[in-house]
Structures are given as C-alpha cells and as structure tokens.
C-alpha cells in the first residue's frame, strides 16, 4: 500500500508555482524530500496536509483521500515543521495535556518511554529546550498517538551532527517493522545518504526525479574532462563548471556516451543538487 500518493499537484503564487508535483511513498519506507531553499518543499508539505490550498491535484494518505478523510487521517499522521515553535513559554507537561486529549489512540506508556529515551523533562518549558530536543519532543508527541505516517519538514536542520545521527537512527528503527512510513524534507543531503530509501528531488516547484536512492543517483554521471571534450558533450550536459584543467559537469546517464572516453564518476546527492541549480543560472 502507498503511505502517501501525491498526484499532479498544482499551486500558483504570483512569483512561484508548484507544477504537476507527483510522487509516491510506499508503506514502511523513508523518503527524503530534497531541494534548495525556496524550491517548494514546505509548500508541497503544507498542501499535502491541507494547510495550503492547491489549485488542482490529488493527495492520498494511507490509501484514502486526505481532504475527504481529513480528521481520520490526522489521527494517524504525525507532522512537524522543524522543532516546536508554538506556546514556547508553556511547560511540556501542559502542552502535552492539551494535545493528548485530541487523539483517540494516545498511549501514555509510549509517551513516557519516549520522554525517558529522549531525556525530556516534562517540567521544562519549551523555550528551555535545545533545537534537537524540540524536534524530539515533537516526535514524541507524533509517535505517542500511533502515527503511521510521519511528515517532517526539515527535522534535522539546526541540529548538531551527533543529534542528527541519533535522529536518523531513530527514523530507521521506526520503519523497521514496516508499519510506519516517513517523508522528511531536508537540504542536508548527507542525511539522506545515511537513511533514506527513496529520494524525491524538487527544483523550482517541479519534481526533477523521484526514485529509489541508488536508482536516483545512478540516473546521473559526473563528468570530468578537458576543454576539447567539453565541446563534444556541452549540449547534453545538465550544467557544467569550467576550471583550469577543463570542466566538470553533470549528465543524464542515458545521454552519456562512454566511447568519448571522458572520465566519469558516480555523483553524490549534493553534486546533483548543485548542478541542477546551476542549470537554472545558465539560462537566466
């Protein structure tokens, strides 16, 4: 079953638009949603959750149309926009006491376990928590009401490397049983190299590619060659950078001709993102 199915999502703002955004997340997997700042990650996530109106498109979560089953779906979807940035002067205890009343499947034991595991003190005010702790508190809330789908907008931004690593380990642990699925947006591509099963890459409001991680990376080749070689492949490159030795550039695997004998390597996610954003610059 699909945990999340986004079909042809369109939303037009004055200076930005989501164009036919479509992607699917299978149940029990982690999908990384990457894109530069302002690429449309948050707008897409907000549209999925009906926080923002979209002009056209279909969103299904856990097999059901989200808008038609909004209340039922919100009971089993946990989401967080970064850390907790609401009621920051209130104690964790007080916020939890309000939040838990909304959920039919709230499990107090699970909640207490997560508090212990995350080292969260219920008597602290939200403002007293570090960024990492805020993300963990949000996760504790989401996981204690039995979420089957976690939608997290940049949960790792602002965390130190250790906290990020811990969080990514937790994500992997959560999906182990195949019951929980996670979609998380980030611009820190190394997070995805560590834990994502699928990658969806959004650029300027358009989905460039959405695929299993290895397949996603294998779609591209990073070329490294001389100036004369550049002339031969220039038109096929997604974009390139010239340097004193020649050039480096990104190309679609299918456009790459091995007989040209240009050095090629497997790019990493960061390189893919950089060359795609550079492409934009070329045409401006």
């Amino acid at each position: 079953m699909m945990a999340l199915d986004v079909k042809n999502l369109n939303k037009k703002y004055e200076q930005f638009q989501l164009k036919d955004v479509s992607f699917q997340l299978k149940k029990g997997y982690i999908m990384g949603f990457i894109g530069a700042n302002g690429a449309g990650k948050t707008t897409t996530i907000k549209s999925i959750l009906n926080l923002t109106h979209f002009d056209s498109g279909d969103i299904s979560t856990l097999g059901k149309n989200f808008i038609e089953h909004e209340l039922e779906m919100k009971q089993v979807i946990g989401y967080a926009f970064g850390g907790v940035n609401y009621y920051t002067r209130s104690k964790i205890k007080n916020v939890t006491n309000v939040v838990k009343k909304f959920y039919k499947h709230w499990d107090e034991d699970t909640y207490n376990n997560y508090l212990k595991r995350f080292d969260l003190d219920e008597n602290k005010k939200i403002a007293q928590l570090s960024e990492g702790m805020k993300v963990k508190y949000n996760l504790a809330l989401a996981l204690s009401h039995g979420s089957k789908l976690l939608i997290l907008d940049e949960p790792t931004s602002g965390l130190d490397p250790v906290a990020r690593d811990n969080l990514l380990d937790l994500f992997q642990e959560l999906v182990e049983d195949g019951e929980i699925s996670i979609l998380f947006s980030t611009h820190i591509t190394s997070d995805l190299e560590k834990c994502a099963d699928y990658i969806t890459y959004i650029h300027n409001g358009e989905i460039i590619n959405s695929a299993e991680k290895e397949e996603f990376i294998n779609t591209y080749r990073l070329l490294n060659g001389s100036e004369s070689q550049l002339e031969k492949v220039k038109d096929d490159l997604i974009s390139y950078k010239e340097n004193s030795f020649g050039f480096t550039g990104l190309i679609h695997e299918e456009d790459f001709d091995p007989t040209l004998e240009i050095n090629s390597a497997r790019p990493n996610l960061e390189e893919i993102m950089i060359y795609f954003s550079k492409r934009e610059g070329l045409y401006v």
Binding site: K46, L71, K74, Q75, S90, N94, N97, F102
Partner: protein, 217 residues
C-alpha cells in the same frame, strides 16, 4: 471542538483575562459614570492582547496540527470571545446591582445600570462581534484593523445611544425617568439585546468560516 475550546482556555488565553472582568466590573461602582465603557474594556484590552498572543505563540499552526477542521478552529475561537464577553457582562451586572444598592437615589446623567441598559450593552457587543470576527478571520492573524473598525462602530453605537438618552425625552424617561424600574419594558429590551447578540455573532461566525477556509497557513 470541545478539546479545542479547552486548548483555548488552558493555553491560548492568559489567566489575566479571566480576572480582568472583575477589575473592570468594579468600575460599575463609580456613581454616574458612562457604563458602556465598562464593557468596552473587553474590546480595548482583551481582544487585541489575546489575538497578539495567538499570533506570537504560533497558535494557528499548533491548532491545525491537531485532528481538527478549520471550521472547528473558528468555532472554538468565537466561543472563547463569547464566553469572555458573557463573563464581562455578568460581573458588570453584579457590580451594577451593588451600585443600585449603594446609591439608590442617584440621578444618572448617562444610562444607569438598569435591566434595559444591559440589553443595549449586548447590542454594542453584537456590533463589535459582527465586525471584528468577520474581519479578523480574513487573515486570522492581523487584528489591528478589525479591532479599530469594530471598536469604532461599537463606540458610535454607545455614543449615539447615550446622546438619544439625553436628547430624546421618551428614551430619557424610559431609562432615567419613571420607566427606569418598569421591568415590563426593560426585560424585553434585554431579551432583544440578547437575541441581536446571538444573531450577529452567528452571522459573523459563518462569514468567518467562509473567509478562514481560504486562508493559507
């Protein structure tokens, strides 16, 4: 919706605003004062401060994270406004009653705390609600313009009513003269005020829902 209301009352509204009605209500003890002001304190102090707190505490995002609909959010917020308004009116009525016991023979230049006066108070808050609630939910965070327009309209009503009470002999008689103790007329005025309050608030609630549905969070 009940959970959202609890959320508003526990997290959203500072306890200060539950105490404020008693402080402003006590102003009813000033003999011969302009008693509309006692109710207007709700519009001047509570409303902008409450909305400012919602905005700074990121309340909308928090509320929408819960399994609730946008309609429920409007319902809960309107309910909080009505609850606080009723708290203001009820405490003012109690202090108004004490006022009449303390100064039984006082001649009021402005409206005294008669039963019918509270009907006018309800109408004033009805006008405030109609304008404020419907305007506020256009954005659900900008409260400056809705507050100013709604307060101006409420004050114009209060000012107009006071002016009529001084200039118009029938109304003068009804509220300050021989009719002041005539419950047969004052109770219907109060009931009319309550009905107008309910109708205007319900209309505002429906307009607010329509507008809030279009708001992108």
């Amino acid at each position: 919706m009940y959970n959202l209301l609890l959320k508003e009352l526990k997290l959203g509204v500072s306890p200060f605003f539950y105490i404020l009605p008693f402080l402003t209500g006590a102003l009813m003890l000033i003999p011969g004062w302009l008693y509309f002001i006692v109710l207007l304190y709700f519009c001047w102090i509570t409303v902008p401060n409450m909305c400012g707190a919602y905005k700074s505490q990121n309340d909308l995002q928090f509320s929408l994270m819960m399994p609730v609909t946008k309609k429920d959010i409007v319902k809960a917020k309107v309910a909080v406004i009505v609850i606080l308004e009723l708290l203001h009116i009820v405490t003012a009525v109690i202090f108004g009653f004490i006022n009449t016991q303390l100064y039984p023979d006082f001649t009021n230049f402005f409206f005294g705390p008669t039963v019918g006066f509270w009907g006018l108070g309800f109408i004033m808050l009805a006008i405030f609600n109609l304008i404020f609630i419907s305007m506020y939910f256009k954005t659900a965070y900008k409260f400056g313009a809705p507050t100013i327009v709604a307060i101006t309209a409420a004050m114009l009503f209060a000012g107009g009513a006071e002016w009529l009470g001084i200039k118009n002999s029938t109304i003068f008689d009804l509220f300050k003269g021989s009719g002041a103790d005539n419950l047969a007329i004052h109770v219907p005025i109060l009931l009319t005020g309550i009905v107008i309050f309910a109708v205007f608030t319900i209309i505002a609630y429906h307009i607010a829902i329509k507008r809030f549905m279009k708001v992108d969070i």
